[in-house]
């Protein structure tokens, strides 16, 4: 059996010889971080194109259209005299919504007879549909408030008092941790962590598959669990160091580059990073031990990104998933880590606020270690059986 240090050295040479591992672990994390991360650089969706169909052609409908166009989120992309014309652009995805003023809109509004505007939304994509809806509702509420105020003023109520009476309860909605409720601040921090997790799984897994089938882990029949762990620790220490360095670079350079909130001490984040990376490394060894070729590993694991992210509870609450998937989500290291990371970095939580997730991550590490032992025994026993027969 080689010494720990010589295994470590051969891992380094394997990484530099194997272009695939080199690409996955050294090029992909930074490339993805900037390339995919920059998708959300603007963070918010602005100027969503909508069409106006104005059957009323009144001053009020023109004013409402103007207000809509003036709102940051919406851009009036065309005025049409019939719904059929607007539908052409709507069907061609050139506009995401249609605002329609029916005939008599101004008259009904000013005479307080109950007017309405029609809003047709393309709900195949929620983000744009929600933003248009919010913008239109906001403009119409403002217009309604104005009309009510005008009525009160005409009833000899002083302007200041009329303003207050027109909207007796003022909603003050404060979005904490993401003031503008934008998609970039929500998704990007965890997307960056996901990039690290996936490149680590694929790159390190390739090395492990190679080791099991061609190198030191092949003749496992004569080895003890201690030898097994020695090989694995020497192989994985490089990845642990590299990915910790990535975490440091991400927190110190990439997060500020994308103007992402990052609270908490860097030291504590790196400590959590060690826990997370080690757990991921252990689970990767277990799964990689079932594969025969490194290409097969890449081929299959490339499909794990969406399933792992979507079940983690970050984009869709775990409580809303079926019971079986809730159990599955909780055996994945990303589930507690995403929670801890979000609580610390985004919400500025303290250590006492994340104890349960920390324990969860530690438990997964221990369970992983136990599973690794069982896997080692099963491989060794199989090899011994094969050798004896």
């Amino acid at each position: 059996m080689k010494s720990w240090f010589s295994i470590f050295k051969s891992e380094l040479s394997l990484i530099f010889e194997d272009k695939s591992i080199l690409l996955t672990c050294l090029v992909a994390p930074l490339l993805y971080a900037f390339f995919v991360g920059s998708i959300y650089a603007e963070k918010e969706v602005k100027e969503i194109p909508v069409a106006i169909v104005d059957y009323d052609r009144s001053n009020l409908s023109a004013k409402v259209s103007w207000l809509l166009n003036a709102s940051e989120r919406v851009n009036v992309n065309g005025h049409f005299s019939s719904i059929e014309e607007a539908l052409f652009y709507f069907n061609n995805l050139e506009v995401q919504g249609i605002v329609m003023f029916p005939k008599g809109f101004q008259g009904k509004t000013m005479n307080l007879e109950g007017a309405h505007v029609e809003l047709i939304l393309n709900n195949t994509k929620f983000l744009t549909s929600n933003e248009i809806n919010k913008a239109v509702q906001h403009v119409i509420l403002t217009v309604s408030g104005g009309v009510r105020m005008q009525y009160l003023v005409s009833n000899k109520i002083p302007i200041e008092q009329a303003k207050q009476k027109a909207q007796p309860v003022l909603p003050v909605i404060k979005s904490i941790y993401n003031a503008t409720n934008n998609y970039g601040d929500y998704l990007l921090p965890v997307l960056l962590i996901l990039i690290l997790q996936q490149t680590l799984i694929i790159g390190f897994g390739q090395s492990i598959v190679h080791e099991f089938n061609h190198s030191m882990l092949k003749p496992l029949s004569n080895s003890t669990f201690f030898d097994f762990i020695k090989i694995l620790s020497a192989k994985s220490i490089y990845y642990l160091g590299l990915y910790l360095a990535y975490l440091f670079v991400f927190f110190k350079l990439i997060f500020p580059h994308f103007y992402l909130t990052f609270n908490g001490s860097i030291g504590f984040h790196l400590f959590l990073g060690i826990l997370f990376i080690t757990t991921v490394l252990i689970y990767t060894v277990i799964f990689a031990s079932f594969f025969k070729t490194t290409i097969g590993w890449t081929e299959v694991l490339a499909f794990s990104t969406y399933p792992l992210f979507l079940v983690s509870g970050y984009s869709w609450p775990i409580e809303s998933m079926p019971r079986l998937l809730q159990l599955f989500a909780n055996v994945l290291p990303s589930t507690p880590y995403f929670k801890v990371f979000n609580a610390l970095a985004v919400e500025g939580a303290n250590l006492s606020d994340i104890t349960s997730e920390l324990v969860h991550l530690l438990l997964l590490l221990l369970v992983g270690y136990g599973l690794l032992y069982l896997r080692f025994r099963s491989i060794r026993n199989r090899k011994l059986l094969r050798a004896n027969s």
Binding site: D18, S20, A28, S38, I39, A41, V45, N91, N92, L93, L112, G114, A115, H116, V117, E118, L119, I120, L121, N123, T124, K125, F126, L127, N130, N133, V136, Q137, S144, V147, Y151, K165, P168, V169, L170, K174, S175, I176, N178, N181, Y183, D185, Y186, L187, L191, F291, I295, E299, A302, F303, Y306, L310, V311, W316, P317, S320, M321, E347, N350, D353
Partner: protein, 386 residues
């Protein structure tokens, strides 16, 4: 024709011996697609846990709380008190996603005819909850304002029907089309299954040619193809297209219906676009396989190219909101064009003419893949012969 059929049969035998290919062809469609659908089984978030902090302790504030409790999607799980630190509520109680704060003097202000504020704090680090509470809160407070206005007008002797029209002189009649109930299953799963279809076909095809070099069987393959690059590519292309089309048909005929995703009258004619989409990805995969003789590198390139296809496609974050370079790069991925066609053809059920531009884009992808693959293989053959 015989040569092409022989290549197809040979390719299917090669795939049979590759366990990873079996995982891709069988496990992804039968397990992963359903697994993804299973995540979103509920379709929408039915309940959001919130808290209330009542600093007014008046009859009106209690009425407000009762009304909040009656809101179908909001679930009050905690009544906060003045000793709770507002700044740390979300970190101390992560299960609380938002809270209503009724300030002191709320009732008095309303009865004096002054404007009162009702504060709603939302944990927007998750915008799914953030948007939901925002929507519920805005609608609740406006209804409440309307109620107060209604009572005021009635007290002034305005008839009930007139008062109702006056409190909301203009209403918005929203018609969210194609997914009226904001169902996440209908929204996300078709996108996920089709992007995985692209990856599946691309990944399988990305080992079509280079594996022949690795196994030193390229010469034998060329012989089966009667020395014709054209027949060789067509044989390989048809194999992966056939597999992809079968998976595509499985998605539309079994996965989506079994998950309860509404059927579309446009599905059957749209299968022609699915065929083209699969053909394009098989061709691009073969092109990558021709360019990179090393299978592992070809696989890495396929991974780098395909894995961000979903986020670049504009499915969750619109392309128009991306920086210019990203928006341009999004056009270099076939999935972006397929998605536009999918949305129009299946979800919006628009006439076929609206899909033509996207079909043309996909054809361009195919031609680029085919021409590049042919040129490289022809040059390699010429070198070997020379």
């Amino acid at each position: 024709m015989k040569a092409v059929i022989n290549i197809i049969i040979r390719e299917l035998f090669i795939l049979k011996k590759r366990p990873a290919a079996w995982v891709l062809i069988l496990l992804i469609p039968t397990a992963i697609f359903f697994y993804l659908g299973y995540i979103y089984k509920e379709g929408s978030i039915e309940h959001v846990n919130i808290a209330v902090l009542d600093l007014d302790h008046s009859d009106l504030s209690r009425k407000v709380i009762q009304n909040v409790e009656a809101a179908p999607k909001l679930n009050i799980i905690k009544f906060l008190n003045s000793h709770d630190h507002i700044d740390s509520i979300f970190t101390k109680h992560p299960e609380i996603k938002g809270f209503y704060l009724i300030p002191k003097g709320f009732e008095k202000k309303i009865y004096r005819g002054e404007q009162a504020k009702l504060l709603v704090y939302v944990n927007a680090s998750n915008i799914v909850f953030g948007n939901l509470i925002y929507k519920e809160a805005a609608s609740f407070i406006n209804t409440m304002s309307a109620g107060i206005n209604y009572n005021m007008l009635k007290a002034q002797g305005v008839p009930s029907e007139k008062a109702l029209k006056m409190i909301m002189p203009v209403k918005v009649r929203s018609r969210p089309l194609f997914n009226s109930y904001y169902n996440y299953l209908y929204y996300l799963v078709p996108g996920l299954t089709t992007v995985l279809l692209q990856m599946l076909v691309f990944f399988l095809a990305a080992r079509a040619i280079n594996s022949e070099y690795s196994n030193q069987t390229y010469e034998a393959l060329l012989k089966i193809a009667d020395g014709s690059i054209f027949k060789l590519i067509i044989g390989k292309l048809l194999t992966y297209t056939l597999i992809g089309v079968m998976v595509g048909v499985f998605i539309f005929s079994a996965v989506h219906p079994l998950l309860g995703i509404p059927a579309s009258s446009g599905t059957l004619p749209f299968l022609a676009v699915v065929f083209l989409f699969v053909l394009v990805n098989a061709m691009l995969g073969i092109m990558v396989s021709v360019i990179f003789k090393n299978e592992a590198i070809a696989m890495d390139v396929s991974f780098v190219y395909n894995s961000p296809a979903f986020v670049f496609s504009g499915f969750t974050f619109p392309i128009m909101a991306m920086p210019a370079f990203n928006a341009w790069y999004a056009q270099l991925i076939p999935y972006t064009h397929f998605l536009h066609a999918y949305v129009k053809g299946i979800e919006m059920e628009t006439p076929f003419t609206f899909l033509l531009d996207h079909i043309l884009d996909l054809i361009i992808f195919f031609l680029v893949g085919y021409i590049v693959a042919c040129i490289i293989l022809l040059r390699r053959n010429t070198k070997v012969l020379a």
